[in-house]
């Protein structure tokens, strides 16, 4: 073991920090710091800038536009992005469908989709869950029946996040009814402009819009949009979910939240002194920071251990589980630091999709926007991307062999 830092990494950090200072537009950073739901115009502008620099998809293989950075450098990049307030990109594109396309897609698919993902030109949503198939994803029923050179898709997807922005949807569809559930699933790329697709917004309890329901009624999809082999969709989905495991801890995001929380606590007053000096709150804040350190070192272990190493698989299971909990905790501490003001509805003041436009919004300071939104919306972090119950099940079965 050798825990000494690579001096090159700190040099790298300085380089990316300087880049962000120079190139991240101020208005995008302001909205990014507030951390409401994705805002496509912001992400698109930002991806354009990153793409010009060649940094749009650092974690991709170099031949597909990646940077060749070490895992540690990618982690540093994420930390600096979040600290600077860069918008969270279209994760479905960069972390999920992009890797599936460059790993399993054909040359035509790679040539057409990958540059457009890097430039932010096309936005993706994910069509996995269905009303009856959430945790039990393999039971999905949306079907794609082959008809000549097309598939005809019928069914319904739910939790198609950011579908309101999406140009394309990557989806799991049932192409074979006669085999065991997992074997009958295929991975299909569908143009959201196709005839027969309708979308229904689902407002979430923070009064924002990210969730949607998407319906497919005899949607014709060229068979050329099938990724890889028919019936291999389940394998690709597992690959895709495993691929993002080291990022699912969201440590860079939580570290930024901690910086914001400390600033809020220094400003807020409780019982005549700053909340940061309130021993009870200070202890909770410190305890959060300690738990985040543990998670960060778990991430570092995974980043520095090759895939397939048993111990690495064991610790990887921890990441999403604890990461999601910490994201909730830091958001709730933020609400506490906001004091009683945390009870006011605080939708995105620059939001393009807010549930109500009644003007009945409390006056907040610049640095107070987004806090309540996070405290409420992050109840979802332990639900999406595999609930914490499913994560525990994976650890119990896959690691502990129970």
């Amino acid at each position: 073991m050798d825990f000494s830092k690579d001096p090159a990494d700190e040099k790298f950090r300085a380089e990316v920090r300087a880049f962000l200072q120079a190139y991240l537009p101020e208005d995008i950073a302001r909205r990014g710091q507030r951390d409401y739901h994705a805002n496509r115009p912001d992400v698109q502008r930002w991806m354009h800038i990153l793409d010009a620099k060649g940094w749009a998809a650092p974690h991709w293989p170099v031949e597909y536009g990646g940077t060749g950075w070490t895992p540690m450098q990618q982690f540093i990049w994420q930390e600096e992005l979040r600290l600077a307030g860069a918008p969270v990109p279209d994760r479905g594109a960069l972390d999920l469908v992009g890797p599936v396309i460059y790993t399993f897609g054909d040359q035509t698919q790679k040539d057409w989709f990958l540059p457009r993902i890097r430039s932010g030109e096309i936005w993706w949503c994910q069509g996995f869950s269905e009303p009856g198939s959430g945790s039990d994803l393999a039971s999905l029923r949306t079907r794609a029946d082959r008809d000549g050179d097309d598939y005809v898709v019928n069914g319904q997807k739910i939790w198609t996040s950011e579908a309101q922005w999406a140009d394309w949807i990557f989806m799991l569809v049932r192409t074979n009814q006669d085999v065991k559930p997992q074997a009958g699933i295929s991975f299909l790329l569908v143009d959201m402009k196709s005839s027969g697709i309708t979308r229904r917004p689902i407002w979430s309890i923070d009064e924002g819009l990210t969730l949607n329901e998407t319906f497919f009624d005899n949607v014709r999809v060229p068979a050329a949009n099938l990724v890889g082999d028919e019936g291999a969709g389940w394998t690709y989905a597992k690959f895709l979910l495993g691929n993002e495991r080291s990022f699912s801890a969201e440590v860079p995001h939580s570290k930024r939240d901690l910086v914001q929380l400390k600033a809020l606590a220094a400003k807020a007053i409780r019982n005549g002194r700053s909340l940061a000096e309130d021993p009870v709150f200070a202890a909770k804040l410190a305890r959060f920071e300690i738990d985040l350190m543990a998670l960060e070192w778990a991430v570092l272990r995974v980043l520095h251990t090759p895939h397939g190493d048993t111990r690495s698989d064991s610790v990887a299971g921890v990441l999403k589980l604890r990461g999601a909990e910490l994201r909730q905790r830091v958001a709730e501490l933020g609400a506490e630091a906001l004091g009683d003001r945390a009870i006011a509805v605080a939708p995105d003041p620059e939001g393009l999709h807010n549930l109500r436009d009644d003007g009945l919004i409390a006056p907040l300071e610049d640095d107070e926007w987004g806090i309540t939104h996070k405290a409420i919306f992050r109840r979802a972090t332990t639900i999406y991307g595999g609930t914490n119950e499913i994560q525990r099940q994976i650890i119990a079965k896959g690691v502990l062999g129970l």
């Binding site: 009683d340 006011a344 009644d358």
Partner: protein, 363 residues
Amino acid sequence: MDFSLTSEQAALADSVARFVERDYGFEARHKLVASANGYSDAHWATFAELGWLGAGLAEDQGGFGGGAIETALIAEQLGKGLVVEPFASTIMALQTLAAMDDFEGRAALIESVVVGETKLVLAHPGAGALGDLSAVSCVAQTHEDGYRLDGSIALVPGGPRADRFLISARAGDATGLFLVEGDTTGLTRRDYRTLDNGRASDLHLDGVSATRLGETDAMTAIMAGIDHGLITLCAEAVGAMEAALWMTRDYVKTRQQFGRTISEFQGVQFRMADMLVECELARSMLYQGLAAMGTPEQSRRIAAAKAMISEAGLFVGRQAIQLHGGIGMTEECAIGHYYKRLFVIAHLFGAPDVQVGRFAALA
């Protein structure tokens, strides 16, 4: 000790439960909160007509002979229905008045609130005071035959629809309680929605003409009013928690995943059991608080109730969403609204840590 309800108490709770069932379905509530006023004047008239506003006041105080227990029985049912009319704020105002030394016009003022003629709320910075419930943020100056008030008070629940405000203000060395008409010159309101779709206001007072109520220091009465408000909120929380618990129980018994209802998974059963544990302990704590009303330990034990019930409510609300999965995150499902109501109650008039601190300090 007797934990059973008298027939009058049972009838009272039943009348509120019937109102909630009949008039406060999820769709009906949705329409109400999206309306301009954010609540129903007709409902408020019903509250008055059925005697709910005065149920917790003794007869010689202008009420119907009950106490905090009666108020809590009502509030519990209102909590189950996520009722948005500002019941607790009104109770806080009424109980503050009732705790004052008698002054001319007190009986008439209480009566006009109890019969629903006047909407009166307490405007005291307790809700926005970051832990110090006795902080006062307005100043009163004598002016000709009355007073003028200056200052700001943040977060007055029920403020947007109030006809009149009871406002705390520094008057010389004492804290005075002042009556201010809602439309008085110099009083500006900034109205907004709270997460639970209630409404609140920030008040700004600039030389507002006011009538002082009573001559003596009003802080003791205000704190008594707040105690009543806190225990009312606790009762609402207990009602909301139990509704969320059983709603979730019903959901997990119907939701199918992996070829069975998710209620068959032991992990889900254990979680539901933990939720029930919190509900039962919260209810016990509510009764503990109600038992302390009128005793020298009132404030300390109410602080304990508010701290514990808030945490329990947050736990139950979080788990209720978790067990619902994605649907629990949506505006169109009731369960998220229970969480938001419990979140608001937990943060209102002192978050759990603040109440724990009060409990320790009052020992």
